[in-house]
Symmetry: C2
Subunit: 184 residues, 2 copies
């Protein structure tokens, strides 16, 4: 027997449909927990490592590589400029997630994406971070995401697919963050 | 005349105090805009590049390096597992930002941090992303940040310093994201 895999947009559509069926049959399989370890280097410079996660009803055993990522700050923000700032890293995660969500949901709907590239811009005002004005927020006052897509679908259809993005949800809606600090 | 630089936690405290004074003298210097370009590879795999930003009243000319970052998804989420997921990248940005904010504000307050390391956990339920249940959110239902710190300050003091984090604000409070899709 020959198995022909059915790919659209680089997504294995058969596997995607099986995943949906498995989750419908056993809702517990849908629970995921992602994790990161973070180590402070100095100033505004940190390094994270990412490997283990929980999903599909078990602790993952398939990921072989530990991914390491750094953050730093440019000289004008008192850093050594060894890596992108945390705010820029958020833009990377957001752009990747909106685009990936569009590609997955397009595949599930038989919509082909030929190419996609985007720019993201986030503005902020240091009065917030520096604690100089409690009325000014510390994070971005907003993010502009502009995506150029080559596809037969309409821009409205593509936007509706992109809006399934988990990181878009995390940024545009409040996500509770608990902070526990332990002295050692 | 000898200039002695005054560093605490790897932060140049004199430069930090000058930055605060400059912003107080000319509020327009506090406006920053960070940017990323994102290119879709296939499926849930993307690469971002980060270089230019606006801040301190001008387009930055000091950053020499373009930082590139990837996202992918593990096999169980139909990816090739070439890089961390966007959700994990958010944890990296959040942990780095909370820790960096603590280090900067501690320095400004004469509090020394000897070491800091943290773990971050974010849970989600695929019923949201897959569109199987509109009541289930697509992103994390919450993030747990646990930070071990070696410092003479109290845990409460340190938490109050970490809460200046811009990414903590972006995640825990709603940040408007505009989406513009252009067909090409």
């Amino acid at each position: 027997m020959t198995t022909t895999e059915n790919f659209t947009n680089g997504v294995n559509v058969d596997q995607l449909m099986q995943t949906i069926k498995h989750v419908q049959d056993d809702p517990a399989l849908a629970k995921f927990e992602f994790r990161a370890k973070n180590n402070w280097i100095e100033g505004g410079r940190c390094v994270s490592s990412v490997k283990g996660f929980y999903g599909v009803g078990q602790e993952d055993t398939t990921r072989k590589e530990t991914f390491t990522m750094e953050c730093d700050h440019p000289n004008v923000l008192l850093g050594e400029d060894k890596a992108a700032t945390p705010a820029e890293v958020v833009l990377h995660a957001l752009g990747s997630c909106l685009t990936g969500a569009m590609a997955y949901h397009a595949a599930a709907n038989g919509i082909e994406i030929e190419s996609a590239e985007s720019t993201l811009e986030g503005g902020c005002d240091l009065h917030g971070f520096l604690g100089l004005d409690p009325e000014v927020r510390k994070g971005f006052d907003g993010v502009k995401f502009k995506l150029k897509v080559k596809s037969d679908a309409t821009a409205e259809q593509l936007e509706n697919l992109a809006r399934f993005s988990p990181v878009f949800d995390m940024i545009s809606n409040p996500t509770p963050v608990s902070i526990e600090i332990v002295k050692c």
